[in-house]
Symmetry: C2
Subunit: 188 residues, 2 copies
């Protein structure tokens, strides 16, 4: 039996379809990052709750940042961190802030959980090569972005040194990330 | 150019390898559930933090269940829920309990996060067909399991009505699941 190029292409498409290639996460690291353009603009990563893995969560009881902070990255980035102790080039971190509610449950009193009320998202993209030195949202090994629910297409951060870095200074020795709260980075 | 069966097989394997078929989640629903045997015994789902999606988290400040409760399911199960409002047959829910720490952060005072200190896991498997009526860990549409860190191979729950159901009664009208805390079930 002879096989034409067309038949082979069809077979490959069939196999790819069968194993669900359409649902497979975009392979970010093939071209640095799918959410960063050639000028270093960072776009909001859509539906990350279904495409990324959960690193860990924070509960902030009071103040402007109150509520749950749920943090996500690519599965491949978490796997790389487990091996190397570092986020790989192109890794995305998403920190989603949601308002919380509290109630009495069978697990205890004053139990808090995140609601549908979205507050904002912090997004960071690891840049191990210093690609965008002229873009003020890039530096110290990361691209920095902040999105609000009313305009997810707009990165509100304009200068990471003014708009972002201050809150990360206590984590400077951990590449600016509060990794103590992210158990997924440690396999078990 | 001619293509032999061997060459085509090699090409298919290459493509499958390239798109990461080895890392692809087991397709649970092809055979009900990969963590349930023919007698209805439920085994612990390993490394679910990398293979499942995060539904939401609870923070319990005090008592025996204190700490973070992080809840996970299969991506396919979350997608199905978004469409139907129900967990599909074979869906797995994992609720991981970890002790928490609290500290002052740039986000606020008394900010809590989950630690490496694992407390226990609740696992539920959706059974829409009443498969295991003679097995006392199955009933009311679910299989019920509880694992402790010192013996993840042992389902501590022996009778779901005695060991599990009591804590779920307030959520009976939502198929026993406290879905108000799981924003991933609602696309945005």
């Amino acid at each position: 039996m002879k096989y034409t190029k067309t038949k082979i292409f069809s077979a490959v498409v069939l196999v790819a379809s069968f194993i669900g290639v359409n649902n497979f996460p975009v392979m970010a690291h093939d071209y640095f990052s799918p959410i960063v353009d050639e000028k270093g603009n960072i776009s909001f990563p859509t539906d990350f709750r279904l495409s990324m893995v959960h690193l860990g969560s924070w509960f902030v009881p009071e103040g402007g940042a109150s509520g749950f902070h749920d943090v996500y990255t690519e599965k491949s980035s978490a796997e790389a961190y487990r091996k190397t102790g570092q986020f790989p080039d192109g890794a995305t971190l998403v920190k989603e802030l949601r308002a919380s509610k509290a109630g009495t449950y069978t697990t205890g009193a004053n139990v808090s959980y995140a609601t549908e009320d979205l507050k904002q998202w912090f997004v960071m993209v690891k840049d191990a090569e210093g690609r965008f030195s002229e873009n003020p949202i890039w530096g110290d090994g990361w691209g920095w972005a902040l999105y609000k629910p009313d305009a997810k297409t707009v990165n509100v951060a304009k200068d990471y040194k003014k708009d972002c870095l201050g809150c990360h200074i206590p984590a400077k020795d951990k590449d600016w990330i509060y990794t103590e709260a992210y158990p997924t980075l440690h396999a078990q």
